[in-house]
Amino acid sequence: MSTIVYAARRIVTMNPDNPFATHVAVRDGRILGAGTLESLSGWGRFDLDEQFRDKVILPGFVEGHSHAYEGGVWKFPYVGFFERTSPDGKRSPGLKSIDEVVAALQVYEKTMPKDGSTLFAWGFDPIYFTGRRMNLGDLDKVSTERPVLVLHSNFHVLNVNTPVFARANITRHTNVHGIVKDDKGEPTGELQENTAKYLAYKAVGIDLSGLLSDEPATWGFARVAQLAGVTTATDLHNTLPDSTVLAYEKATASVDFPLRLLPAFAALAMPPDDGIARVRALRKKNSERLRYGLVKMVTDGSIQGLSARMRWPGYYDGTPNGVWNVGPDEIDRILLAYHRAGFQVHIHTNGDEASEVAIESVERALATAPRWDHRHTLQHAQMADAGQFRRMKALGMCANLFANHIFYWGDVHYARTMGPERAERMDACGTALGLGVPFAIHCDAPVTPIGPLFTAWCAVNRLTASGRVLGTAERISVADALRAITLGAAYTLKLDEELGSIDVGKRADFAILDEDPLAVPPEKLKDVPVWGTMVGGRIFQAPRT
């Protein structure tokens, strides 16, 4: 039973009784105490470790809404608009035009064996490109021998080259929704619907969901989280087939696995009775680093994909309302089943009509089956207004707001999807804080990169990619944002008694930073370097490049 006391430049505890400390004592993977060397010396013999004496220690960051696919996508080249860091710490530069994407893919193609194997790339993000869209000809410049597939950053749209169309038998005569055609009726190479995309994958022999959720992908996810100071992360929507469960079990069995992984069961994958039995069975596998029990429901689509369900007056550019993934009556039925069974349900709602339906569904579930401290959480709730937050507060609900959206899509929301007023109050952290709705902020990786300090920066500064400030009234302080990525997120996962602050008895999960996020100017918050993490008392230094 050894005790190690770590000295640090400053320790930010998130414990209001003892907000700052210089030393933290760790025993058996848990926090024995935080304070001064003197105040901790009464616990008996200890070893003093001073390797962090120049570092700043925070509670390990908790990412309440991410997907483990983030670890799997790095098996493939990244071709996005924004710079991004891979699990091994390598930075991929942002690609600012179609030509740059094509050039990068040509370079990558030369490294592949000459066997006609498929080139798959991801993260393509043309939203800030002006002019034409990517087409078959662009990707034919990469290769006319092997299939080339480029998945967009929204994970919905796919661009392919001519060999893919040849194998999938797609021609000008293929009349299917989602196969984009030009004025002359020729398919352009862009596929926008699941059916068309799935058959393209099948034609070239790619099993994307399998590739993205195997054991190496799970490790990749933990590493990319670790680089960002994250010690606990959700995999917030997974049908959890046996192959994935096995991969998670194997990866998390290793003490070197640097993450507590929380998979959320995709409630729509099977009827509720079967789903409830499935999650109960999975819970028996829970360990220190793998926690089943979360349940996720997806109600609508995405705002930038124009598939979110909006209340009147709908989309700013007049696009018809989005689509229900599951209708209001079914939301009631499924939510009630999991609610009765005692589960906490995380409900994806992007548009404000979806939020409204989900809130009313929780209200009905509570009327039918009263329950305390359910903490049902709206995930995204990007368009929720003050009235909806008041209802959430009254019902005991939480919100996990998609702060990264302000930077990545804020300009699009302002100009096209929501219009100025609603864009200025999107992801309303200030309102949630003011009304006392427990909230977290998130990245939805791999939709945007995992990086809680960046996410906190978004909530604090509310800057879009073009530099517009989107809604000064909804800004929150750095201290409040740091709470949202630690204790706030832990609360939305019902883990706030075990994680999220540096306090006696909690897990020794730390984010170890090179600078003090409370001391740097707020606009520099995203640039605070992460040295590494501690998970359950084990140190994981981030690779340096």
Binding site: A168, N169, I170, T174, N175, V176, H177, G178, E193, N194, T195, A196, Y198, L199, K202, T239, A266, L268, A269, M270, P271, D273, R309, W312, P320, N321, V323, W324, N325, V326, G327, P328, D329, E330, E353, V357
Partner: protein, 286 residues
């Protein structure tokens, strides 16, 4: 190629009831049926030949599969099974656009798009269609139909009004039904009316007839049997032997159905024929 049919419609419209009728009346045809939830299917325990997790094999050669997370994936797994099926039928989810699902058959070479059937709850559809949250979803489904089954017609306050309203929403023929009781044969080999997806291959025309005097039943039946190139016929007719009733006439292929549509309230009898070149035999006066 295996014919592929999608059954769409909002929650509670009667999709599962229709599927139950299909399975019960398979009569030697091997259906593979993909559903959202077995639990709702009325599968007679005595008829179950094998039960294997996501599938139930029936003694009559039919197979039921639950869809799970990905319809396309489930469907492609089904096509990889060694057994061959005469027809694949998918039950769309209550909010899905069935036309999108039917697109699978356009892309997958082993499948042939047979049609989209949308089941509509006569008692509730108008209220649903006016609902600000689900109205657009309901109307999208209706417009996607190649055949509309206007179900629970017995529960509608004003069946004729619902029928008329529905006919203004979509081009597809409308079959009225109670408890989804429709002749199974009319469900297959549908012509393309649904607006989503591609255009119909052949243009069709519609011809309409009107009679102010009551019409002889035998004469009308003879006339309809005489038609050529008529794909569908529908109408509201005042028969001489039932002058105070609205008789609803449907012809699908060679099959003629006559149902009762309540008391006679119309100005005249009307009959509409649809087809590439509908030619009506002459109506012999009695």
């Amino acid at each position: 190629m295996i014919p592929f049919t999608v059954i769409g419609g909002f929650l509670g419209a009667g999709k599962t009831t229709l599927l139950n009728r299909l399975l019960a009346g398979a009569a030697g045809r091997r259906f593979a049926v993909l559903v959202n939830d077995f639990g709702a299917l009325d599968i007679d325990g005595k008829l179950v030949a094998a039960h294997g997790g996501d599938t139930v094999a029936l003694a009559n050669g039919c197979l039921c599969c639950t869809i799970g997370d990905s319809l396309v994936e489930t469907l492609l797994e089904l096509l990889e099974r060694p057994e061959r099926f005469d027809h694949i039928v998918v039950e769309a989810s209550g909010v899905a656009d069935p036309a999108r699902i039917a697109d699978i058959a356009v892309l997958e070479p082993q499948l042939e798009r047979d049609g989209v059937i949308v089941v509509v709850d006569a008692a509730e559809v108008q209220e649903r269609a006016a609902d600000r949250r689900v109205g657009d979803t309901v109307l999208r489904q209706i417009k996607a139909a190649d055949l509309l089954v206007l179900n629970k017609i017995d529960l509608a306050d004003d069946p004729a009004a619902v029928h008329d309203w529905l006919s203004t929403q979509a081009a597809a023929p409308i079959l009225e039904a109670r408890q989804a009781d429709v002749p199974i044969d009319v469900l297959f080999g549908l012509d393309r009316y649904g607006v989503a997806g591609s255009k119909p291959d052949q243009a069709f025309r519609s011809w309409s007839y009107a009679w102010s005097e009551p019409v002889g039943r035998e004469a009308l039946m003879a006339m309809l049997s005489d038609t050529k190139d008529v794909l569908r016929a529908k109408g509201v007719v005042r028969f001489a032997d039932a002058p105070d009733r609205r008789s609803i006439v449907h012809m699908v292929g060679r099959r003629i159905d006559i149902g009762d549509g309540g008391p006679w309230t119309e100005e005249e009898s009307r009959l509409v024929l649809l087809g590439p070149k509908p030619v009506l035999g002459s109506l012999q006066r009695e």
